[in-house]
Symmetry: C2
Subunit: 125 residues, 2 copies
DNA sequence: CTTACATTTGGTTATTTAGCCAAATGAGCA
DNA sequence: TGCTCATTTGGCTAAATAACCAAATGTAAG
């Protein structure tokens, strides 16, 4: 692998890493619907204000979101809508994992139970 | 956000995190072409054998790749081809970033130079 | 120009991750 | 059975990440 190729994989990984956090993933979905100021996101997130701000900064540096200052507020919006396409695939991965887990446990995965099994193993009634 | 939703975002983030490493990203693309044993991937990667094995283990635990033991070797293959769709979008993000950087630097981004600018800032001739 | 508000930045700490080495496992072969 | 090869696991250290708090910045309003 050339240095050039290596740098490309590193750059791609950096973008994915920016998305690879539950709070940031949630934010991306919110920002896909419409722009939000930091304060709005803060209210829904249950974390320090500075934490929320830093998450947005990570997304911005990765080039995933855009920001515009208006008055006292900073308005963030999703810059690259195609990242939303990831969600469907990821859900498919999780569902598939759930089925594997269920099969291993001797359960019949039906509908939502499967996802629950993957997300909260041990909580299946 | 309910506990349930929170757990879902955490699960999704876990999958993305598994992909968010240059070596693992490279491996995923190789495994998309055809199955490979650990030794084949090792030869191309320039890292310890155990490091390669651990990367594959991360991908397996995320449910992204599958493994089958045949004889002495372990053969890994891509289990969820849809993750390949991510690549196009990520490249679009990088290209877009490059253009922003170039505009900021007063350059005209033409073709490949744009990507180079993003990947190796400061190396533009 | 002082205050209040929205957000970012810097500092600190705890946790997670990546890498290497050495040792353990497990399958096939002598 | 004992050897060898392919791979995984455990232990360790260095580096990266996430969270909080406190302090700094920048903007608008009084």
């Amino acid at each position: 692998m050339t240095d050039r190729e290596k740098a490309q994989y590193e750059a791609k990984a950096r973008v994915l890493k920016a998305l690879a956090h539950p709070t940031r993933l949630w934010m991306v979905e919110r920002l896909a619907e419409r722009e939000h100021c930091v304060c709005e996101l803060f209210e829904a997130v249950d974390a320090d204000f500075s934490t929320v701000s830093k998450h947005l900064s990570v997304l911005r540096q990765a080039g995933i979101v855009d920001v515009e200052k208006r008055g006292k507020q900073m308005f963030y919006r999703l810059k690259v809508p195609c990242v939303l396409q990831f969600m469907g695939c990821i859900e498919a991965v999780l569902l598939d994992n759930a089925e594997v887990q269920c099969r291993a446990a001797g359960l019949t995965p039906v509908g939502d139970i499967a996802l629950q099994a993957r997300l909260n193993p041990g909580e299946i009634s």
